[in-house]
Every structure is written in structure tokens, then in C-alpha cells.
């Protein structure tokens, strides 16, 4: 199985986009080597602006570039792009509804060794609550490539969350990403696991574990968190009667929160949310951290069994 970090795919996508469109400009806040915008900087130095360690200024500058007719992509770590600069994203991007793309890397706990200060487990919630904002969390390299192409075509603010570590490639050439459309790997019979980002791979592993125990769990990749594919959630709830969500984020306000909102209003069925449970992260490696926070494939399979017990 090939593996590529979604941030690497982002860097490649920018170069492809930069060749196609002369209006694409890229900003970074002194992390271009890590966010992989450095690839674009090397290919198109005149269209790359390093703003230094000044995320608030970077977001405002991106807003100005969009007013001047450019298509700006602004990148830094997720914790800074959505935390440090949240009010700039609100006031200077979403409120005036400008065509600014914020692509943040090193999201979630799998930043790993850097520890809790750098592990963004709130970013999806912070971006999702903003009017006009589209929120996308690609699951692998190919989906990231397509997502970047798609947000370039969409007029308006977009937040795309990418990760530091290599993740298994799940999608082939036949996959067609569409903003706002979930991808159903399998419908399942007993329960559906709705996952996002690198947790999609964990969910697929959980499905295999459960299969050995005679449990048929479906897996849905919810790469667009906003606008959420409510129809896919409702269909899964009606078909399986039980839902598990899995995300590398707080269980509050992100995918789990969004799915809970849809279920509560439109298709109330038992739900168990896998993710970070109202706590900050800590240093460690990816595998150790996923286990520590109860987010491994084993934990997801346990969650499916738990939700099945709640199911009448």
C-alpha cells in the first residue's frame, strides 16, 4: 500500500495549480518547509509571500490579495491558522466573503512529538462555525489533490485540513471528489462508521476487525465537514440504525458534532463519537497517541459494539 502525507499532496497540488492558473498566489508564516508550500515557492518565487511569524497579518494580506484579483492560498500549522488568526479569518475573510483558501497542516494529535501546544483538536469546530466557510478534511493524497483543485474553483472562503504524517492511499484514479458529497466505501448492515481525515483508514481497519466477529459495519468518508452531506448521514442512519463517528479532533464541534446535529434533528439513532474527549494532546508517536486517546482501529471496533448494544 502506498503512503503519502496529505501535506505533501497539498504541495504538489499547488504546483500543478500554479502552472494552470497565473492568479494563484501562496502565503506562509515561516513554515513553508513543513506545510510544503515551499514546493510552490521554488516553482513560482514571485508568487510566494513569506509573511514571517505573523499569522494574523498573513490572513489579512491574503484577503487583500483576493481583492486585487488573486487566488490566495494561506498556510501554516492548523493551531495557528485557526486559533491565532481566528478573528482575522472571521472579520477579513468570512464576513466580507472573500475568495481566500486557508490550508493548514499538522492538524490533529498526530503532529505527535511536538506535544499538545501544537496539536490542533479544535480547528474544525472553529472554522465550521463561521458563516460562508467551507471545511474539507481529505483522507489521503489523491483526495487532497482533488480537493485543492475543487476549492480553487469554488468562490468563497475555504478551510482545508491536512496532516503531517504519511497516510495510506485509499483512492484510485476512478475516484471523483465533490465538495459536500460523502464517499460510501460500504453501506454495512449493522452500523455505519462515518470518518474523516486519517481516521478513514482506521475505520476501514476496524471494519475488517469487525468482519471477523460477524459484524457488518459500513464506512463513509465524510471529507467535507461543511456543508455536511446530511443526506448520506440520514441514509446511513436509516439503513444501519446506529452510527459511529471517527475524527482526529475534539468530539465536540467537529465531525461528531456535525453528525450529531443531523441525527438529532432528522434521524435519531444511537451514536458513539470517537475522537479527543475534551482534553489537550500530549507528546508521543502517532500509533501511541491514537491508542492513548482511544482512537485506534481497535477502539473504533469497540465503539461499534458499544453502539450496537444501544441499538434496539
Amino acid at each position: 500500500m502506498t503512503k503519502i502525507a496529505t501535506r505533501d499532496a497539498y504541495g504538489d497540488a499547488l504546483v500543478i495549480l500554479g502552472k494552470k492558473r497565473k492568479d494563484v498566489v501562496v502565503l506562509d508564516a515561516d513554515l513553508s518547509g513543513s506545510t510544503k508550500t515551499g514546493k510552490f515557492a521554488k516553482a513560482f518565487p514571485e508568487r510566494f509571500f513569506n509573511i514571517g511569524i505573523a499569522e494574523q497579518d498573513m490572513i489579512g494580506t491574503a484577503a487583500g490579495l483576493s481583492i486585487a484579483g488573486k487566488l490566495p492560498f494561506a498556510s501554516t500549522f492548523a493551531v495557528f491558522a485557526t486559533g491565532r488568526a481566528w478573528e482575522q479569518v472571521r472579520q477579513s475573510v468570512c464576513y466580507p466573503n472573500l475568495n481566500v483558501k486557508i490550508v493548514a497542516s499538522h492538524a490533529g494529535i498526530t503532529v505527535g512529538e511536538d506535544g499538545g501546544s501544537h496539536q490542533s483538536v479544535e480547528d474544525i469546530a472553529l472554522m465550521r462555525v463561521l458563516p460562508n466557510m467551507t471545511v474539507i478534511v481529505p483522507a489521503d493524497g489523491p483526495e487532497t489533490l482533488q480537493a485543492i483543485e475543487a476549492v480553487a474553483e469554488l468562490k468563497g472562503p475555504c478551510y482545508v485540513r491536512v496532516g503531517r504524517n504519511k497516510v495510506p492511499t485509499l483512492f484510485g484514479d476512478d475516484y471523483a471528489f465533490k465538495i459536500g458529497k460523502a464517499h460510501v466505501f460500504s453501506t454495512g448492515r449493522d452500523a455505519a462508521i462515518i470518518a474523516t481525515g486519517l481516521m478513514v483508514a482506521e475505520a476501514l481497519s476496524a471494519r475488517d476487525i469487525l468482519k471477523h466477529e460477524g459484524i457488518d459495519a459500513g464506512v463513509i468518508n465524510m471529507s467535507t465537514i461543511k456543508p455536511i452531506d446530511a443526506a448520506a448521514i440520514i441514509a446511513a442512519a436509516k439503513h444501519c440504525g446506529a452510527i459511529v463517528t471517527a475524527e482526529e479532533h475534539s468530539i465536540m464541534g467537529g465531525l461528531g458534532g456535525a453528525v450529531a446535529e443531523v441525527l438529532a434533528e432528522s434521524a435519531p439513532v444511537p451514536l458513539v463519537r470517537i475522537g479527543v474527549k475534551d482534553t489537550f494532546g500530549t507528546s508521543g508517536d502517532q500509533e501511541g497517541l491514537l491508542k492513548h486517546y482511544g482512537m485506534s482501529a481497535d477502539d473504533i471496533s469497540s465503539a461499534v459494539k458499544e453502539v450496537l448494544r444501544k441499538k434496539k
Binding site: 514571517g52 494574523q56 489579512g60 484577503a63 487583500g64 481583492i67 486585487a68 464576513y95 472573500l98
Partner: protein, 280 residues
């Protein structure tokens, strides 16, 4: 090209009318920012009726100069100059802050053509101006970018991030102005959180700095002319102003930062503003 005596006379007359309209709309509305709208009135008049290129019938005209009102609470001033410049009807000024109005409490670019970007949360406008200036430079375009900041606003850290960026990228197509009226909501700026020496700070950040009397039309127009000739760095025009300028009712009074005149105060101010032109 220097300003002519006739132009100066016309600009002063325009500023007087702008002040009267600001007071009228604020008095009618009953809420809004009086002091900072009046202190910036001559600055905005010089920009819109002397220096800036725009097409009021085509607010998105590619060749336009850009104006960012970073001190967004001076919205009544912006709306008034936009009305006098022909972007909107003067009658629309009466809708200030009303439900459904395009004239929001703070400028909103979603609704009102001629407003480059929504502002109101202080400290953000200079970064946006930088972005426009960078974008225009990339296209080798000649549009100029103007941003008006308050002196209290300089307390926001983002302003200084943007100050570095503008100098770093040598944005000589950018001219910022500070309305240095010395007052903010909680009192004198020097007491709340001192920002002086303003000119030294911007100079140290790598900007060309011009210090002017922000109510002297000859000095304002000369500074705007000079800013266009500066190469390799951005220009900051520090405008010494009086908060509430135009009537003794408001001048230097901190309580008029965010409050509006009563009917009587409006009438008194109107008399003073009328007399001013009769005398000069």
C-alpha cells in the same frame, strides 16, 4: 502637480459639507461614532476629492485606487464621502444603522459598493491594504492603495506585523494615514496605552513618514502628492487632528467617541460650521 488655490478652497468647502452631513445622519440615527468621523473628515475629503482615482458608476473598476477604512467606526464619514463622490445617493445616508440598510454600523463590503472590505475590528486594515498592494505590484499595475488608521488602533499588534510586511516588500504603492486625534473610548490615548512617538516608530519600521496638520488641506494634499514620489518603501502620513473637529460642542471631548449629538448640539454645531466658511 501641486494643488491650486481654487482646489484648496473647493476642498475646504467639501469638508464642511461632509461634516454637516455626518452630523445630520448621526443626529437622526442616534447612535454611531461622532468624534473620529469628524477628526478624519479633512483626510477623507483630500483622498476622495483630490487624490484618488475611482469611477463611482463602476466601483469595481480595475484602474481604481483602493481605500481601506481600517478605523471602521468612522463609517459615517466613509458613507458621506461615498455619497458626495456619487457611489450612493445622499438620501441613503438617512438609513444609517437601520435594519436592511446597506449602511451598516461598521462598513460592510458585502452590501455597499465602494467599500473595499468590511472593517470595524481594529488593527486589520493595513494587512489587507498590503495584500492589495502586493497583488497590484505583481501585475505591474499603477493603482495606489490608501489605508486610514486611528491612533488608538496602533495598540493592536497586527498593525506592527503589517508595518513590517509593507516595508519588507517595499510597497511604495501604499500610503497609510493615521488620524492622530489623541483620544480613544476610555480616555486620552497617552493614558490608556501610549502610542507615541508615532513618527519615530514608523520611521524605525522602515517607512517614509510625513507629519502634517490633519486639518490643513494644503499640508494634506502636499503630503499625498509627496507619497506618490517615494520609491522603495511605503509612506505613513501622521495627521495631527482634533477629535470632533468642526464644532466646539465635540472638539477634544472623549465622550463623543461613540455617542451622537442631541438636536440642540446639532443646531449649535451647524451654526459654527456655517460661520466658519463665512469667515474664511
Amino acid at each position: 502637480m501641486a494643488v491650486t488655490e481654487d482646489q484648496l478652497k473647493a476642498l475646504k468647502e467639501k469638508a464642511r459639507k461632509v461634516r454637516i452631513d455626518i452630523l445630520k445622519m448621526l443626529t437622526d440615527c442616534g447612535s454611531g461614532h461622532t468624534g473620529g468621523s469628524l477628526s478624519s473628515a479633512d483626510i477623507a475629503t483630500a483622498l476622495y476629492f483630490y487624490k484618488m482615482k475611482y469611477d463611482a458608476k463602476k466601483p469595481d473598476w480595475e484602474g481604481r485606487d483602493h481605500f481601506i477604512l481600517s478605523k471602521g467606526h468612522a463609517a459615517p464619514l466613509l458613507y458621506t464621502v461615498l455619497a458626495h463622490a456619487g457611489f450612493i445617493e445622499r438620501a441613503e445616508l438617512c438609513t444609517l444603522r437601520k435594519l436592511g440598510s446597506r449602511l451598516q454600523g461598521h462598513p460592510d463590503s458585502k452590501y455597499l459598493p465602494g467599500v473595499e472590505i468590511s472593517t470595524g475590528s481594529l488593527g486589520q486594515g493595513l494587512s489587507v491594504a498590503n495584500g492589495i498592494a502586493l497583488g497590484r505590484k505583481l501585475d505591474s499595475a499603477t493603482n495606489r492603495v490608501y489605508a486610514l488608521l486611528g491612533d488608538g488602533e496602533l495598540q493592536e499588534g497586527q498593525v506592527w506585523e503589517a508595518a513590517m510586511t509593507a516595508a519588507h516588500y517595499k510597497l511604495d504603492n501604499l500610503c497609510a494615514l493615521v488620524d492622530n486625534n489623541g483620544l480613544q473610548i476610555d480616555g486620552p490615548v497617552s493614558k490608556v496605552m501610549g502610542v507615541e512617538p508615532i513618527t519615530d516608530k514608523w520611521r524605525a519600521f522602515g517607512w517614509e513618514v510625513i507629519d502634517v496638520d490633519g486639518h490643513d488641506m494644503a499640508q494634506l494634499t502636499a503630503a499625498l502628492d509627496k507619497a506618490e514620489t517615494v520609491k522603495g518603501k511605503p509612506t505613513m502620513i501622521v495627521c495631527r487632528t482634533v477629535k470632533g473637529k468642526g464644532s466646539k460642542v465635540f472638539e477634544g471631548k472623549v465622550e463623543f467617541h461613540g455617542t451622537t449629538p442631541s438636536k440642540e448640539e446639532y443646531e449649535t454645531a451647524l451654526k459654527e460650521l456655517a460661520e466658519e466658511t463665512l469667515c474664511k
